[in-house]
């Protein structure tokens, strides 16, 4: 009895204090480690969030100015001797006239001190090279104004636009500046007379690409993306749904279907550029399909989106409870009728969600489209599935490569447009999911 008691006697007071202190120190250390660990987690998430904010912030900062452009309003004398000496008002004659001369004249009346070829050219370079077309358009629409002096607003060159937006530093030496002192003087005078003003950049969303930054627009790329996505969804959605139905409802469990399964999963992880190589080798070189066409781009993206759609569709079919199938079969429907009349309609919202997400993925895809020639410089708005086209991400890539400073804001603006489309698609997917979500 005493032995046992001795065994469990309390340790001397001093030793116990020491042990408790050691224990407390250890506990403190453990709690500190705990707090540090939690901090690391918060830090990791913060890094990701900060990065995202920086990314979006810098793009919005750089891109928002692209939606505004710089215009100069000039008094242009629509001289009949230049436009239409015979007074025929024939559109062909009107179109062929030298409108640049009219612009030159109106600039010369503003700046009578500028003489000689060199200075005149430097003065005219303030205007966009598309300015004569703006005058031509005005004349075509108002032929009765010929002979009068009218106010016409034309685009300035992209360098002047950059100057107005403050991207060009006046303080650097003239030799390092895009705008020389002479042009700067003319610009300042135009500003002081109130001729130069900011205007909404409608070209950005209505025209095709251009080598001149002030004229370059996104509409060609938007139409190209749209046509490409139509092909993509037209091929990948039916095929994906059919494949999912077969694998989920009818396929026997054997080696072959196992291989299909593994294949689908692997295909979802194959680098996108390899799909580009496939498209190049098979669709372009073997089948001889046209380069740069939305048809081929759509086919390549369809193959890439297929696994995503199959996986989502299978999940949607799996979510339909077996009781529904059993009821249909019990009423004498054939297996295929059961699927077409009952399983498919019930799983359609889930499939659509998957398809939209697949499309959003395809919309942002660039690399495989480079392989099939969708990087060509294309000014025209694509008119069909086989006409040369480019798509939004590729347009971004092309503009990002351009040396002009003005293309930086264009690129950022194009990214903003692309992101808006992506947000809409993802929002649609979330809305569909929420709307049709049901618990069986």
């Amino acid at each position: 009895m005493t032995d046992v008691a001795n065994k469990y006697t309390v340790e001397p007071f001093s030793a116990s204090v020491e042990k408790r202190e050691r224990f407390n120190r250890l506990l403190k250390k453990r709690y500190a480690a705990e707090a540090r660990f939690k901090m690391w987690g918060i830090a990791a998430i913060s890094v990701a969030v900060v990065f995202l904010v920086l990314l979006l912030g810098s793009i919005i900062m750089q891109g928002s100015s692209a939606f505004v452009t710089t215009r100069v309003t000039l008094d242009v004398h629509l001289d009949p001797a230049v436009i239409d000496p015979q007074g025929t008002k024939d559109p062909k004659v009107l179109a062929a006239a030298d409108y640049n001369a009219l612009l030159r004249k109106s600039m010369q009346t503003l700046f009578p001190e500028v003489e000689g070829r060199g200075p005149t050219r430097a003065m005219m370079s303030i205007l966009s090279s598309s300015a004569p077309y703006a005058v031509a358009d005005f004349v075509r629409e108002n032929p009765d104004q010929i002979g009068q002096t009218v106010k016409i607003s034309v685009l300035t060159d992209d360098i002047i636009d950059m100057l107005r937006k403050g991207y060009i530093d006046r303080n650097v030496p003239e030799s390092d500046r895009k705008v020389d002192d002479f042009q700067l003087g003319i610009y300042d005078k135009l500003v002081s007379t109130g001729a130069i003003a900011a205007a909404l950049n409608t070209d950005l969303l209505t025209t095709g690409d251009s080598r001149e930054p002030e004229n370059a627009g996104l509409w060609g790329a938007v139409v190209g993306s749209f046509l490409t996505l139509i092909v993509t969804i037209g091929i990948s959605f039916p095929l994906g749904v059919m494949a999912a139905i077969y694998l989920e409802e009818f396929a026997p469990k054997n080696r072959w279907t196992d291989m299909i399964e593994v294949n689908i999963n692997n295909l979802a992880a194959v680098p996108s550029i390899v799909f580009g190589l496939l498209g190049l080798a098979v669709f372009l070189n073997f089948f001889g399909m046209p380069r740069s066409a939305p048809l081929v781009g759509g086919l390549v993206l369809a193959l890439q989106a297929l696994p995503i759609i199959i996986i989502a569709s299978r999940a949607a079919i799996k979510a339909v409870p077996p009781s529904i199938r059993e009821a249909a079969l019990g009423m004498g429907a054939s297996p295929l009728q059961t699927v077409v009349h009952h399983t498919l309609p019930l799983s359609m919202p889930g499939m659509l969600t998957g398809a939209i997400l697949g499309m959003a993925h395809a919309l942002g895809e660039t690399a495989p489209l480079l392989m099939i020639g969708m990087v060509a410089f294309i000014v025209d708005i694509p008119s069909g599935f086989t006409s040369p086209a480019t798509v939004l991400p590729v347009q971004i890539y092309l503009w990002a490569d351009s040396p002009e400073r003005a293309f930086v804001e264009k690129t950022s603006a194009a990214i903003m447009v692309l992101l808006v489309f992506l947000v809409f698609m993802n929002a649609a997917a979330i809305y569909l999911r929420k709307k049709f979500e049901r618990k069986w």
Binding site: Y31, L52, M242, V394, I396
Partner: protein
Amino acid sequence: MPSYILIATILVLSVIGYYMGRSTALARNGGKVKGLHSLPGYYGYYMALWCAVPALLVAALWLIFENSIIDGLILADLPAGVPADRASLFMTDVRNFSQNGAIAGEVTDALREVSARYVALHDYSGIALAIGALAVGVLGLAFGQARIRASLRARPKVERAMMIALMAASTIAVLTTVGIIMSLLFESAMFFEKVSVTEFLFGLQWSPQTAMRADQVGSTGSFGAVPLFAGTLLITVIAMVVAVPIGLMAAIYMSEYANRKVRAVLKPVLEVLAGIPTVVYGFFAALTVAPFVRMVGQSIGLDVASESALAAGIVMGIMIVPFVSSLSDDVMTAVPQAMRDGSYGLGATKSETIKRVILPAALPGVVGAVMLAISRAIGETMIVVMAAGLSANLTANPFEAVTTVTVQIATLLVGDQEFDSPKTLATFALGLVLFIVTLCLNIVALRIVRKYREQYE
């Protein structure tokens, strides 16, 4: 006739077939539905199938082989002025000339003549296709209608056809893989006839510019891909150094620490990172991160190239974060609560539980996630194309510009190319390496993830 109008015509024809089938079946059964083996609609589908399937098959086969047959016909009868070894170049000119009316070089009489024949052959082929396909469609209609009677088992027949279509759709994935492997192997084989495999895999010099003319100096082209592999590896390592700790810690925080509300906000935010197109990351890397890295490097006295591996790697790492975090999150939430409770019961703190219990239990899944992320980084194109550079440096210095496998594929194949020069064929060999490496990583990773998931179920 453009092919889509032809296809539309065939489809209209088969819709007509549907109504003909329905009414024929009813008419041959005395106008009553009772007594028919299947519902009347199935007789309609039966006829529509007999119309559309053979006609579309004919059209598809015709369109697939049309070009090669016409090319063959043209090549078999080339004008005397064209040497045999320039035949493929000449064919490209003919194609461009007949489509655009202009070519880059000089327009010769021989070219004009052959182009006229080329256009004529295409015209004949188009007419023959239209007549042939529509005739097959009409014949199919007649054949189908002749077989309709009340006892015809229309539903099982239509369903069997549907089943075949479903099976075909499910094999597209396999066909795609086969297509990828075949095209890569075929073109790579042509490359390896010109450049030996050992030189490609172990050579230290990559300069794919080949001589356009025989007398050109200094551009024989060398295809040692080791600098590309090294560059890819360097950028992948940097990306992983960024992505794995951030992704893992983010996953730990979200699955173990964050409450429901925080999680509901954070998870979509991370997913936004995954949804941003890679070209946007590339632009950001080239325009914002690279100059920043250069500035920081210079301020501490380092020589940083304007296109550095570091900038591309960091941005790629951030892009991959959601990938690592969502997969790791999945595997960590799959660890049973009982294991956590046991650890807490022994007096462990949360972080100790995570470090000693949850992470070891989730390790295989996390490793699988990281492997998938590596395969992603290796295959990523746009960021490196825009931010990593083109010079093939064999270096481990992250401040220098390096080039990667995907960059070379993308830059060598953009623009018009001749498909018999080693320069363009090399890209397919690079593609093959890329495909094999990522495929191996994927298979192993998918197997690990899947096996691990089954353990607790």
